[in-house]
């Protein structure tokens, strides 16, 4: 409490110049553009402060010296064309002076041409997907803060809510173009250190760009209300030197190869119930629990329960179960998971749903079943 009161006092009396040093002000960021935006912000702030000081000083002077209790008698004036013209024209001129640098910065910000690297950023409830053009690399990036921290059962880490499983890796000193879009509702991709905030609109593509000066880890968040877990879809960018970036690219490609081989191998594997359930639970908690809830109860009226639901318990509806998870359901929040999860993960999570929370069907789904389902559809 006491400490907060002190902070409060500090907030009120600290001049803006000091506030620059504290994390109370806009970040200067690590790009040329973000510096220019910061300078604009500080300029307009100082202009406002200056106008405020003048206007409020006159006002306060008047409140002190023109009080009736001090014997002040009201003057009679109530018009003055000169004064009125002056205080219309002077603000107008100040605004023009302000508009000039703002226009220049804006035009620079909106010029994504001649990019070295293009990344497609896709928002979906509630994760980001990154695709590196011409590189055959793509992945989802999900919040990695454990649920226990959010629910206050564990101490919160230093990057609470601002950490992900796979950060976006970018090289410094390269012009990077982002193509933003969305699979469902509107999201907004915001990294303060780059001064980039651009909406990801479903069905449309927006452009933005950045050129990072310094290596480091930069964190941001989704900035447009996108449903229940809008507060839980952070962005983490790791900016590295060009050599490191190249190394990372080739490592990614190798992992991707290995994963493909593994997925191929999985198709002929038969897992035990226990293996399926363990993997299924992990997948479920990471990819499904946000909507269907960890206990499978869903949110009535918004997200259906899977516990005791017909689809997840009746044997003759197994096909529908596979179908809804693989292909999603158009026009609802239920996404197609075929691209997000491997066949083995899909098999595991479906098995999990059919056997967890007392569903106890005993049904097992294997990676091969997922593959067959997809093949049948193709016919």
């Amino acid at each position: 409490m006491i400490r907060n009161l002190f902070i409060l006092l500090a907030l009120i009396i600290t001049p803006a110049s000091l506030a620059e040093e504290m994390p109370l002000n806009m970040t200067r960021g690590v790009t040329d553009i973000s510096e220019r935006v910061y300078d604009l912000h500080m300029t307009i702030l100082y202009i406002c402060c200056a106008i405020g000081v003048v206007v409020f000083a006159v006002m306060i002077y008047s409140l002190i010296y023109h009080r009736k209790s001090k014997g002040a008698e009201a003057a009679n004036f109530h018009e003055s064309t000169k004064v009125e013209v002056a205080w219309t024209v002077i603000p107008f001129i100040i605004l023009i002076l302000m508009a000039i640098p703002a226009t220049k910065t804006l035009i620079a910000m909106e010029d994504p041409t001649n990019a070295d690297i293009t990344i497609q950023v896709t928002g979906s409830q509630w994760k980001w997907h990154y695709r590196y053009f011409d590189q055959d690399i793509e992945f989802y990036s999900l919040l990695s803060t454990p649920r226990a921290q959010i629910e206050n059962q564990q101490a919160k880490g230093p990057h609470y809510l601002l950490e992900v499983d796979k950060p976006l890796v970018l090289p410094i000193n390269k012009k990077i173009r982002f193509l933003m879009t969305s699979d469902d509702v509107i999201h907004s991709w915001w990294v303060p250190a780059f001064a980039v905030k651009k909406d990801a609109n479903p069905g449309f593509i927006n452009e933005a760009w950045t050129k990072i000066d310094k290596p480091g880890t930069y964190r941001g968040q989704c900035a447009e209300l996108c449903g229940k877990d809008h507060g839980f879809m952070p962005i983490v960018v790791k900016a590295v030197s060009e050599q490191e970036y190249e190394a990372w690219l080739s490592a990614q490609k190798q992992t991707a190869e290995a994963e493909k081989a593994q997925a191929q191998a999985a198709l002929s594997q038969t897992l035990s119930m226990e293996q399926l359930m363990t993997e299924g639970e992990a997948v479920y908690l990471a990819s499904c629990a946000a909507c269907h809830q960890p206990n499978g109860m869903g949110l009535p009226g918004v997200f259906p329960a899977l516990k005791d639901s017909a689809v997840a318990t009746q044997t003759d509806m197994l096909n529908q179960h596979l179908d809804v998870v693989i292909n999603g359901k158009a026009g609802t929040a239920m996404q197609a998971f075929a691209k997000q999860l491997t066949a083995q993960q899909l098999a595991a999570v479906i098995t999990y749903e059919r056997n967890a929370w007392g569903n106890d069907t005993g049904d097992m789904v294997q990676a091969a079943d997922i593959n067959n389902h997809a093949k049948q559809e193709a016919k």
């Binding site: 400490r3 907060n4 902070i7 907030l11 506030a19 994390p23 109370l24 806009m26 970040t27 935006v37 912000h41 307009i44 702030l45 406002c48 006159v58 009736k68 002040a72 008698e73 003057a75 009679n76 004036f77 109530h78 018009e79 004064v83 205080w87 603000p91 107008f92 508009a99 703002a102 910065t105 804006l106 959010i150 919160k156 609470y160 809510l161 933003m180 469902d184 509702v185 509107i186 915001w190 303060p192 001064a195 905030k197 909406d199 609109n201 069905g203 927006n206 452009e207 941001g220 968040q221 989704c222 900035a223 447009e224 229940k228 809008h230 507060g231 839980f232 949110l299 009535p300 009226g301």
Partner: protein, 534 residues
């Protein structure tokens, strides 16, 4: 200029203070009333109740945000709270309060016996409670009420919302119809029922600002009705206005919404300008400085307000030239707004000032609204807006203009005219206590939000990163204190209605206007014979 309502024409002599025209007793008085003072009171009470309900939701929001982590409510309910808090404060607290003030004051200020369309007046009030019962009722539906923000962006409000959206749409429709009827009534009254000699440039500024507000309302409420209807048909009847898959465009939603939404924010502040322009001269004992420039400034703000809507949409990916256009127009609005502030300060200058509660609120309005105006100017600078947009900086900005702007002016108005309404002076000590508690807590509540936003905290989130914890705690403490302080206001009003020192016809030395020429409390029927204005 002397058009009387048909009622009055038919029985011209029956309009002195006679017992036969006193109101019936009991609930029927209020249900059937066509009296502008009764309807004004209904609107004002309704608004106060909504202010407390919306405020209670704000307390839930601030309690959840007191600490990082999820403690009290789940994110889905949190989103319902922010959405319904916003809707109730905008459509339930601020707008009905202004309509209530218009009902009470406009006829008395222009020397008219009542509003021009008294039956429609009754109707426009009595549909409102149903609108809000429907909205609040939807919170108890399976899946809860609206959770897509008061701006209900598609497709979050269409494809991805639950079925309570139908109730939301219906309720907004009713609010819109009520506002349009209220606005028509104000316009017809002002245009036709001014007392002889009450020429346009003699109108009190409250009347002027409301006249302009009423035109804004008639222009944009149908746009709101249109956009909610499109949401309804997109969600339930298979159209795709806002769905790219069917050839629509979700960004078009935002254009239509903000074409309503930006004039809407002026609907919530222009009547405040009128109130402050009445109170500041009264307690400075000096005429308002620059009356005619006030009128022109109000009109130019109203016109410009149709040209700036897309400043809420800089991040949606508009072409640069559009961004520049909307940036320049928005900056331009600062000019007439500045003129107003300068005029008020010039009115204070070399006045003979006293500090009764209405004046305290008016002075706080000028300073704090100006701070809200400054942050507004910062938000207009498009490159900087990319950093501010959808953060707590915006939440701070609009609460400065709405709470310390609109709400403070409504409080000031209530204190200023309470003696006229009730016939009693309010308790000045309690009033001042209310003021000081409010003005301190409101700044503890909203000022640090600027820092939260600049440091990177997005709005509409139920949980936040640990570096925002300390400031959020301060903000929440300010929030609880501000919420509690408003109970003092309730006490003042109740006490003033019950009794208190008798108020003279004109309790304020420097007050001007026809409403102070009739006794306090204002008789049930006033100005049955129009006064002569010289």
């Amino acid at each position: 200029m002397k058009t009387l309502t048909p009622e009055i024409d038919s029985q011209p002599e029956a309009h002195q203070e006679h017992d036969h025209h006193q109101p019936p007793k009991g609930i029927m008085r209020w249900l059937l009333t066509t009296n502008h003072k009764d309807i004004g009171s209904l609107y004002l009470w309704f608004s106060l109740i909504m202010f407390f309900i919306g405020g209670a939701m704000a307390m839930v929001i601030r309690a959840e945000l007191f600490q990082p982590g999820l403690q009290l409510v789940d994110p889905n309910f949190f989103n319902q709270m922010t959405t319904v808090h916003g809707l109730i404060m905008v459509f339930g607290a601020v707008m009905p309060a202004f309509t209530g003030l218009a009902n009470w004051l406009i006829p008395m200020m222009i020397g008219a016996p009542d509003m021009a369309l008294p039956r429609m007046n009754n109707w426009s009030f009595w549909i409102l409670p149903f609108a809000f019962l429907i909205l609040l009722g939807s919170l108890f539906m399976e899946g809860g009420g609206p959770s897509f923000g008061w701006t209900f962006y598609a497709p979050l409000s269409t494809t991805y919302s639950n079925d309570s959206t139908a109730l939301f749409v219906f309720s907004v429709h009713i609010m819109g119809i009520s506002s349009i009827m209220g606005a028509i009534n104000v316009i017809v009254t002002i245009v036709n029922m001014r007392a002889p000699g009450m020429t346009w440039m003699k109108l009190p500024l409250f009347v002027w600002t409301w006249l302009i507000t009423a035109f804004l309302l008639i222009a944009v409420m149908p746009v709101l009705a249109g956009v909610v209807t499109m949401v309804l048909t997109d969600k339930f009847f298979g159209t795709s206005f806002f769905d790219a898959a069917g050839g629509g465009d979700p960004v078009m939603f935002q254009h239509i919404f903000w074409f309503f939404g930006h004039p809407e924010v002026y609907i919530m502040i222009l009547p405040s300008f009128g109130i402050i322009s009445a109170i500041v001269p009264a307690f400075s004992r000096k005429k308002l400085f620059g009356y005619s420039s006030m009128v022109y400034a109000t009109a130019s703000i109203a016109i410009l307000s149709f040209l700036v809507w897309a400043h809420h949409m800089f991040t949606t990916g508009m072409p640069v030239f559009a961004e520049l256009f909307f940036m320049y127009c928005t900056m331009l609005i600062a000019v007439p707004t500045g003129v107003k502030v300068f005029n008020w300060v010039a009115t204070l200058w070399r006045g003979s000032i006293t500090f009764e509660t209405p004046m305290l609120f008016a002075i706080a309005f000028i300073i704090l609204f100006t701070i809200g105006g400054f942050s507004g100017l910062m938000l207009a600078i498009t490159p900087a807006d990319f950093q501010y947009h959808d953060t707590y900086f915006v939440v701070a900005h609009f609460h400065y203009v709405l709470v310390t702007g609109a709400i403070f002016s409504i409080m000031a108005a209530a204190y200023y005219w309470l003696p006229k309404w009730t016939g009693h002076m309010y308790d000045e000590r309690l009033g001042k206590l209310h003021f000081w508690c409010s003005v301190i807590s409101v700044n503890v509540l909203f000022f640090p939000m600027h820092f939260l936003g600049l440091a990177g905290m997005p709005r509409r989130i139920p949980d936040y990163a640990v570096q925002f914890a300390d400031i959020n705690q301060i903000v929440s403490i300010g929030g609880f204190a501000f919420g509690l302080s408003q109970l003092i206001f309730l006490a003042v009003v109740l006490k003033c209605i019950k009794g208190g020192e008798k108020a003279p016809a004109k309790p304020w030395e420097g007050a001007e206007g026809l409403e102070w020429t009739i006794p306090s409390p204002a008789p049930y029927h006033s100005f049955s014979t129009p006064p002569e204005v010289k």
